[in-house]
Symmetry: C2
Subunit: 815 residues, 2 copies
Amino acid sequence: MDDRKTLINLDDESGDDDATVAQKDMGQGSKPIQDFGAIQSEEPTTSSSGREAQGFSGNHHLLGDEPPLQLGDNAMPIPPEIPVNGNAGTSNRNINNSEPIFHLRSRTAASSTPNYESLDYEVCENTLFQEEQRKRLTERFSLRKDVIRWIIFIQIGIITALIACTIDIIIEELSDLKYSFLFNAVQRNVPLSDSSTGDLVIPYLYWLLFSIVPVAFGAAMVTYIEPITAGSGIPQVKSYLNGVKIPRIVRIKTLAVKAIGVITSVVGGLAGGKEGPMIHAGAVVAAGISQGKSTTFVKDFRVFKAFRDDHEKRDFVLGGGAAGVSAAFGAPIGGMLFSLEEAASFWNQNLIWRTLVASIISVFTLNIVLSAYHGLNDFTFTGLFNLGKFDAPLKFDYFELPIFMLLGVAGGLLGAAWNSLNTKINKFRKRFIPWKIGKVIEAVVVAMLGVTLACLMIYFINDCRPLGNDPTNHPVQLFCEDNEYNAVAALWFQTPEATVRSLFHDPPGSHKILTLALFTVVYYVLSCATFGLNVSLGVFIPTALVGAAWGRLLAMVTFYMFPQAEFLHPGKYALIGAAANLGGVLRMTISLSVILMETTGVESSFFFPLIIALITAKWVGDYFNEGIYDTQIQVNHVPLLTWEPLPQYKGLTAHEILSNPVVCIKLRDSAHYIYKMLKKCDHNGFPVVDDVQGDRRSEGRVCGIILRSQLIVILLKSLYVENKRFWLPETSIQTFRDVYPRYPSIKSVRQLDEKINYTVDLSMFMNPSPVRVNPHDSVPRIFQIFRALGLRHLLVINNENRIAGIITRRDFIYK
Amino acid sequence: MDDRKTLINLDDESGDDDATVAQKDMGQGSKPIQDFGAIQSEEPTTSSSGREAQGFSGNHHLLGDEPPLQLGDNAMPIPPEIPVNGNAGTSNRNINNSEPIFHLRSRTAASSTPNYESLDYEVCENTLFQEEQRKRLTERFSLRKDVIRWIIFIQIGIITALIACTIDIIIEELSDLKYSFLFNAVQRNVPLSDSSTGDLVIPYLYWLLFSIVPVAFGAAMVTYIEPITAGSGIPQVKSYLNGVKIPRIVRIKTLAVKAIGVITSVVGGLAGGKEGPMIHAGAVVAAGISQGKSTTFVKDFRVFKAFRDDHEKRDFVLGGGAAGVSAAFGAPIGGMLFSLEEAASFWNQNLIWRTLVASIISVFTLNIVLSAYHGLNDFTFTGLFNLGKFDAPLKFDYFELPIFMLLGVAGGLLGAAWNSLNTKINKFRKRFIPWKIGKVIEAVVVAMLGVTLACLMIYFINDCRPLGNDPTNHPVQLFCEDNEYNAVAALWFQTPEATVRSLFHDPPGSHKILTLALFTVVYYVLSCATFGLNVSLGVFIPTALVGAAWGRLLAMVTFYMFPQAEFLHPGKYALIGAAANLGGVLRMTISLSVILMETTGVESSFFFPLIIALITAKWVGDYFNEGIYDTQIQVNHVPLLTWEPLPQYKGLTAHEILSNPVVCIKLRDSAHYIYKMLKKCDHNGFPVVDDVQGDRRSEGRVCGIILRSQLIVILLKSLYVENKRFWLPETSIQTFRDVYPRYPSIKSVRQLDEKINYTVDLSMFMNPSPVRVNPHDSVPRIFQIFRALGLRHLLVINNENRIAGIITRRDFIYK
């Protein structure tokens, strides 16, 4: 179960604690595995059992191998000191009044699955917010804020590109060093003319060394310093954009570990790419810049304070992700569409526009830096097409369309099988390799396996080609005649990305059929074993590589059988194969096709074949299982909202999915009650009610909603009615914003003692306009509202405006 | 004032009446100018004064020259037979109870502006709908519907492309004929070697003839047959996608007139392009196909019945618009982004995907047909790049970026001036040319003016160039030596689109500075005079042409002054100039930049200069006025919702913008009351209330909302409680869908007579889940909900769930 923690056992996000926060940096960094929960764990020992309900908990089960949910198994003891609700007099109530107030909602069950919080995408328009709005309206603040927002997006583009460049250049230089050395080692140790007595042992050992050291280093960093950096980062960014709080995902430390991790892994020769991590890097950069402060460096630059809420931050992260994709592939439109495909429900035109500008700036910066690095002073550096530009336009005939579709089917089948195999391997890992050192060793073993298989292939396959055709950097002569090079070694003696380039652009006849067939099989297995290791690596490049290999292979085999079929341009089929395989594994069609188009420079007319292969692959793959990112998200039990309401919810009404009874607070409630309640339950949103008879709060009339974080700030800052004159003049929305994003725990509030009888007036703090629905509203419709507005809590009220229940993200995911 | 009716004086949309509809095809086609109103006019004589409030009326005033709104001027007489509300006993009511029930809301004022209805984007999830959902869930209907939706989108792509091809080819052939003839006429009439005595009169007259005849024909068709086809159609499509019902916008007759209109206008030589009309064509195709029936041909194919509502239709129209853009520019991604930029608030991933596929299919179909037409059998026909492909990658240097920005500033200024000038010209037109024949004559006059100016330029400017450089089709030797051609004539002797191509791709030194300077000025004025004529023409191409001309001109002038500045590639600067001018006039940045990129085949690295010019131009232009499409929309008083809430609404609450009192209906109300009420008021949505004391309906408790169209269907089909056993078994959601989109008027309901005491039970017909907000909710937040969910009515309820007012589209636009 330990491996899963890479996504979950983290405490919180980029951002610095305010001085008033008592428990600062609890467990941060030094013991990440032990710390659960995004808000600093209030009940660390019960963190896996029933904490947080009204925030939601991610108890959904999609894979079926986890223990079934224990509905109603309430891990939270009912606190005896809280009065139990009496019977309500009114007739049309949906609340089971015999239950105690603090009873957790019936389906907030104990389970072994981790709990995720939602982001507060909804802006809390309370009185303080309105005041700020009015004040700033006169100050032309609106325009200033807009300009700053633009500046931040531009910065995001630039910095993301710079980081991407740095990673790029370091990987390129180190790989070059490594393969040059190996090349020389081979040339030294294998007699040039006598191809039978060659001794590959010494180069093999060198190769092992150059793989083991970086991989071990990278895996150790990931495992011991920041486990969330494992994998590509795209599932995490996707979850974040969907509205799930993935702790520590956007911290600077995460970025540093990820960058080093991806460099070491790629240089180490693992079957992975640097693209996914770059997208994650863009997201971190966006979150970091937009907040103007850093937890890792405990530094608050005191700028951009207005952007310190989940809503603004998420918009910036969207731009960061787009900039990351753009920098990774040199594909600005693809980058924008990637973000669009991931988070389209919250878009508006301005956000699209800012995202596109961030993407363009990112690509432009990349272009400047890489052009300078390669010594060009105009911007025609084709290295931006990081899968290599097709110079001649790719042509195709009508009759090839069915072939492309068949390739799509193959891609879908192979992709679905890959996903299934990978999931099985990862489950195996979780069960049998729980120790940290085991994870590092595992990564090293996979690296060694790769090197060994490559060496065996080079040793046993005799595939010699005349020099001069293949643009490989290190044409190893190994076992070949003079003026020839070893085509097998050429495939292996470079980074996976360069190999994709070779497969796309090498002239026909660069490899034997056997070489490519074996290479496909080996790489398929290797990449499957690699994704899920505790290293920072993306899945895009190996997937494209496998696809390019079998695409090219199929073209070669067919051409061998029908030598008159001249349309079988191997590069074209490699590209289609890569598209099909990517479609089969990732299932992202729109942005993938645009990225492939932009990154290889093919013309619009070739868009159609690409999308045919991609769509076919996606449909075929979808028949069997979900895309690898969604699978990862499900394995980690992240409660991702789908695009459309689940079909099984058709015909249901709110009444059937809501949770009740709901813990409510009176508009003017006692500090003592609030303190007790926050101690006892870990909900994140509480309806505020008035018209309450005695303590029967859940029968009151709804007038707003208040968040747990706000209540804690109120208690911490002693914002009581009785001492109003002390705090009222200097309290503003900024008081609450200052503690974002690391809201303190209720534990940081000292016993109330003398303030025990004080009163809190929530009217200026609560959100007075929570979205409300009726119990008989249909679930698909409610889902639409929830999704379109990015809600966290949805109050269900009856005809008399009294609470009937509450609906959170969790209620839509439950099956 | 007559001219404005091109947008407004139309009766309804594509779709056929059901047999039960009494007044069918009232006034359709034969007398479009007289018939107002989208729903068949109930009070034709009062149509311009205060009709429809709860549906909303578009009384906003943004340009300031119209008469001010007469607030409270209620054109609707208060019906005496309806009881006046008594004083309410409850304390917390917001309703002014002393007002009569049928009092129109205070701000639904009489004014001379036209009224637009909203589309019902919200799905009415009443009991009938739920029944259908449940029934079809078991039938795997959901999947079938999804597959059919895909098929329709693919059809939309194909048919839109075929129409675009047809228009394209006809224009190309006819223009070729025309200019060949003129070319020969010139060659015959002007002595080749004696350039001083040339007689241009005969060719001039021919040219006039070839302009006047088609333009007069086209203008007459537009004016007499279908005035809504005037202009580019993009403002109309944009309004439709925004949720405003623009009558007759998506009818097949409209498409036919538009196609013929655009062919005649372009062939006639007006300063316009065919791109806008193609987008409109795509929208019509989408609406037509998806509904499976046609009003024009009075034919119901009895397919796709499930898609007969505004929600589905609008999604299809979105795809159609994208397919249209794609077909017009050969730019699939640009097409998708165009739709995205226009209607992003309602997007979800599936819709994006379907739209992209429609776009790709459209481009692919275009490619097949045009390749075949040009005799190619692969798909490398570069005619898809309809602004001509830049073969060599465009390079640029760092120091050029400020120059591009300056060009952007110039584009912004020129564009803003153009918009302002065009608006003034159109106002002049409205005032002084109200007669139909006048409009036709006006179009002819502008066409003659164009020809005359062109002839004068050709006559007076001596700009001879050696043959062989310029790829013009008709190198007129006019006044030039042998082996030379007249560069001025070359600019004019082709369609505007071809001239843009020339300016982008002609080698340096193809024109004199004087030629280009004069051409820019002439075309600037001509295009300004042309847009707003009663002809079908887009504004994209002339705008790009003007921009390309001054862009190229600036490069030439600068190069003339600094001959060592070799970076001044005239084609590059023409492209940047076109982008800047387009940005200044249209202000659509995202899709425009992508379209320009796709349609000229420049590489991603040149994306940055393009977007710099575009954004600068947009920002500069926005300082002065709005984009031309938005200006058109405002001039026509279409109540378009902005992307974000207007800044002046910050700090307001629902209470301050709502309209009340509201006309309500009891859950079980008498047929007599409903009939009377529908006769007397023309609201489009009525809250359904229960818990009503006597006739004080507006004090009842809200339990749903019902639309006018539904009520009329109920009356027409006699769906009363008393005769339930007759209709209940065979009544389904289809009963209501059958009359879509041409809902009958209340006039088509006969006097109730014997049914006067019958009762209507609305519980199974009403939408039980209208979106409700509280009076103290903030307006920006409400706007967000309204926009994100595509609402038509938003009920404001108080704490006791009683109606406090209603908010419609109109309330957000009012200033």
